[in-house]
Symmetry: C2
DNA sequence: TCGCAAACTAGAACAGATTCTAATAGCTGT
DNA sequence: ACAGCTATTAGAATCTGTTCTAGTTTGCGA
């Protein structure tokens, strides 16, 4: 239910705790990229990361928290990729499409992981930074550096909507009900309209 | 994972099997409309429906299948209500908004059940007719009688996108992260753009 | 260095979904 | 009435997420 404050409660996370946390997330990601969430069993993750089950639960109070952490890393990758090579298209809508399709291709590379992560996140009871981060990324890229704080409410609404459309399309694709081209067409259509006057 | 063919495998479902199935679904719905999915425990459902656990699993191979069945009944209600009293607004976009907000209010009445509904929709492996039905309903209502078969692909895309936005907003609401008014604002903004030239 | 609080560990315990088993009940065709 | 089949039942068993326990290790301020 909670996010994941460092174990101690009040103090700063030490280096070794940071390492441990990282090892756990990596082990989890490795397992998930094979058999999906069900292969990512808490006992197995703990074993693989070389920590006790209780320790795993100290770092990640629930499996969902762990999933969220794994997803967080994926988004980090996307963000740094965008930073490294920003979309060069000329309209806000096409820059947004660029980002989303790049993310789509990234996730397609590990379909099991993607499927597991997307599903879990959508079902998550916990507050996940996922939606907000994607929304912020879209705004930044579409409206040239606009941040979530500076954006007008209606701009946030529209970026959020585009993000929703994308997530749903991604899910459909992972279910085998959409091709990459279909997603692209739909995202382009939605972005062109939603971001027309952003 | 599977749909739910009648127990026997090949033969027609008998009356008593039909009754049994119905009792199970009713018991499940009753439990879910209180504590949500977690209150709807398989043992409890079986007990409440007066069948053995094994029998419950013969009818519904997984809890999700049971949820989907419960949800199916709710969707029927929703659709027939909308057909009984069609939205009277003047623009396609506002008729679509009308439908979606009516559905929203309907679902708000049983939040626990709604939560289960939306979640199951999103993660169902099985093809739930819901997405298509909602898309079709939106098209029909917005473009005055247009059916899924007659619609152009781009129209279906846009209606599908609006449906995605709605589902995501609904989920956020059920998580307590959106108010009704926020949803309305977002749906109106999205519909106005997506359905502008439908 | 001492001592304490927090972190860690192995493993048992618990909970709820799902599966399995052995036995019984009910129907169908002969 | 009988044989053979499927449905059903009670209950045990299994699997995995989560919690709990009791004891050990570690970091660190006095």
């Amino acid at each position: 239910m909670e996010s994941h404050p460092p174990p101690g409660g009040h103090s700063v996370r030490t280096r070794s705790q940071h390492q441990r946390r990282k090892r756990i997330v990596q082990a989890a990601a490795a397992l998930a990229s094979r058999g999906g969430v069900e292969a990512m069993q808490m006992r197995t993750v703990a074993e693989r990361a070389g920590v006790a089950l209780g320790t795993l639960y100290r770092y990640f109070p629930s499996k969902m928290d762990l999933v969220v952490a794994v997803v967080g890393e994926e988004i980090d990758l996307l963000e740094s990729s965008i930073e490294r090579r920003p979309p060069g298209a000329t309209t806000p809508a096409s820059r947004a499409v660029d980002v989303l399709m790049r993310a789509t291709r990234g996730l397609m590379r590990e379909p099991e992981l993607a499927d597991a992560l997307i599903r879990s996140l959508i079902l998550a009871e916990v507050q996940t930074p996922f939606g907000d981060r994607m929304t912020g990324l879209l705004l930044r890229v579409a409206a040239d550096g606009l941040t979530l704080e500076d954006a007008r409410e209606d701009q946030i609404d529209l970026a959020g909507s585009l993000s929703s459309v994308w997530v749903q399309e991604l899910l459909e694709m992972l279910r085998g009900r959409r091709t990459y081209d279909q997603i692209q067409r739909r995202i382009e259509a939605a972005a062109a309209r939603l971001f027309a006057d952003i």
